[in-house]
């Protein structure tokens, strides 16, 4: 199934959650944060979706207001892929964890927390993964500054 086939099914199943197609990414749907984690639980367990595999999750910082968390799901049964994007407010990005659905989400979320400062509520062990524990700031944010980080000359 492609994202535009998923869209009506998800809209009918979760009327309280907003879904729309992503104009930039033909593989993706944009959804509101209120649907996490129910929508993901359904996508994993429903036989028509059967997304056994969380390929990765990551984030994209879009200043000034938006921080977008991206989840890429894949089904080995149907060989289809769906990316789900959740836009969060940049000043206080919080989204429920998916670590109870896929063990893989545990480290992916720790990495996003570390590099983007997204808080995953319900995560049992939300510590920095890549950077040292006492590091200040979240390096992959666009406004992150560090003395060693200078633009490359042309």
């Amino acid at each position: 199934m492609s994202p535009d086939e998923f869209l009506p099914i998800l809209q009918a199943r979760f009327p309280q959650v907003e879904f729309r197609l992503d104009p930039l990414n033909p593989q993706a749907l944009i959804m509101s944060a209120s649907g996490v984690p129910e929508v993901f639980g359904w996508l994993r367990d429903a036989p028509e979706a059967a997304m056994q595999y969380l390929e990765f999750s990551t984030a994209v910082d879009r200043p000034p207001d938006c921080l977008c968390v991206v989840y890429s799901l894949y089904s080995y049964t149907h060989r289809h892929r769906l990316a789900l994007k959740v836009d969060l407010p940049r000043h206080a990005p919080t989204v429920p964890t998916l670590s109870h659905l896929w063990e893989n989400a545990d480290w992916n979320e720790r990495e996003i927390y570390d590099l983007f400062g997204v808080f995953f509520s319900g995560h049992e062990d939300l510590r920095r993964l890549m950077m040292p524990e006492d590091w200040e700031g979240h390096p992959l944010r666009k406004d992150y500054s560090h003395p060693n980080l200078t633009p490359r000359p042309d």
Binding site: L24, S72, N104, M130, L149
Partner: protein, 374 residues
């Protein structure tokens, strides 16, 4: 947790923490495992990564699309070709660039040669972890011959920087195919020799059989891919499921085993060596003439958009999620690397193991730390 020692009620025993790494010869880089032990048994394991974090994704945002290619070499230095490949494939997908057929074949040849080089390196170090020193010499001896082929093609033996947006940086040397076929003729019978060194060895057998069992269900939940997933009974290979480049025209098998233990992961990789050789022979036969590069401007400007592409590296499913904002630099470049998932699975796998088993398990997953930490 303190409890009474069964043999002597006057004594108590308790769990203790043991730090393995980051500088430890069997962690293949700098991986730290914080182990909670009950006597000789592991109760809990917490892997600590990030010692090799070079902020590759941040660096990519500061470079033009072409300048990112040498950075991807450093993702996984045992298989730079596939790291190059997944990145240029993402750029080409976004820019809608068609690669000349000769370049597609050259890329497949390089990926498969790199798979052989990577598996040979793995074979040597894996055997070393379980106590056999001879295979190390055999594996490295033959890996050198593959590196010679790379050197004659692009001048480098480790970090190739060979692929370009739209093709490859230079054509194959004139006698490349003959030399590659000569290597394959000489080397292919040696795979049997590698196996003879380990397969029937009772020590090796005891160290690897029924050690580190990973079920298919857990493997999926942890995002395990590549040979490690195929050793757990799932016949999944990106080259087969979502064929890219010229793989649909090539014949090869996807080896699968159902045991899910260290031995199965070893057997899968040995079989993959044969399949790679088979693919290479077909490529040498079918290699078309024509241009090897669809020339691109030095500053490639991509249209606004995003894409996710993935391919089968020697370690598993490597992917690149690329976001462009219509400029000459990536807005966001995320690499989904197989070893990242493979290390996370240790916390589950090494429970109730002995410490020597950890070495065997760790080696059998073929983790490469720079790829995890990026």
């Amino acid at each position: 947790m303190m409890r009474q020692f069964p043999a002597n009620p006057d004594l108590t025993v308790e769990e203790f923490e043991l730090n393995m790494g980051p500088q430890h010869p069997s962690t293949h880089g700098v991986l730290r495992l914080v182990l909670t032990m009950d006597g000789e048994r592991v109760v809990r394991c917490k892997p600590v990564v990030g010692y090799l974090h070079r902020s590759i994704e941040k660096m990519a945002e500061n470079r033009t699309y072409t300048q990112v290619i040498p950075v991807t070499d450093r993702l996984d230095y045992c298989t730079s070709m596939t790291s190059n490949y997944v990145y240029v494939m993402a750029v080409e997908d976004l820019a809608d660039i068609t690669v000349p057929p000769r370049a597609e074949y050259i890329r497949v040849i390089m990926s498969e040669l790199n798979r052989i080089a990577s598996h040979l390196l793995w074979y040597g170090t894996f055997a070393l972890e379980v106590g056999a020193t001879t295979p190390f010499i055999y594996g490295f001896r033959d890996r050198e011959k593959v590196l010679d082929l790379f050197e004659s093609t692009c001048g480098a033996r480790l970090l190739y920087n060979y692929l370009r947006i739209g093709g490859v940086s230079r054509d194959l040397p004139e006698d490349f195919c003959e030399r590659m076929l000569a290597f394959l003729d000489e080397w292919e019978p040696l795979i049997r020799e590698y196996e003879d060194l380990l397969d029937e060895n009772p020590i090796f057998y005891n160290r690897t059989k029924k050690v580190g069992f990973l079920s298919a269900e857990k493997a999926l939940a942890y995002g395990v891919s590549g040979p490690n997933l195929r050793a757990s009974g799932m016949a999944r290979d990106v080259r087969r499921e979502h064929p890219y480049a010229v793989y649909p025209e090539l014949e090869f098998d996807v080896p699968v085993r159902t045991e899910g233990d260290v031995f199965a992961r070893y057997r899968i990789r040995m079989e993959e060596l044969r399949q790679s050789a088979r693919i290479l022979r077909q490529c040498a036969e079918k290699l078309p003439g024509g241009p090897y590069l669809e020339p691109q401007p030095l500053r490639v400007v991509l249209p606004e958009g995003e894409t996710y592409v993935h391919l089968e590296s020697p370690r598993g499913d490597i992917g690149c999620y690329l976001v462009s904002q219509g400029t000459d630099k990536p807005y966001r470049c995320k690499f989904r690397t197989p070893s990242f998932c493979h290390i996370a699975v240790f916390q589950h796998l090494v429970r109730d193991c002995l410490i020597p088993d950890i070495m065997a398990i760790c080696a059998s997953f073929d983790v490469v730390l720079p790829e995890t930490d990026r």
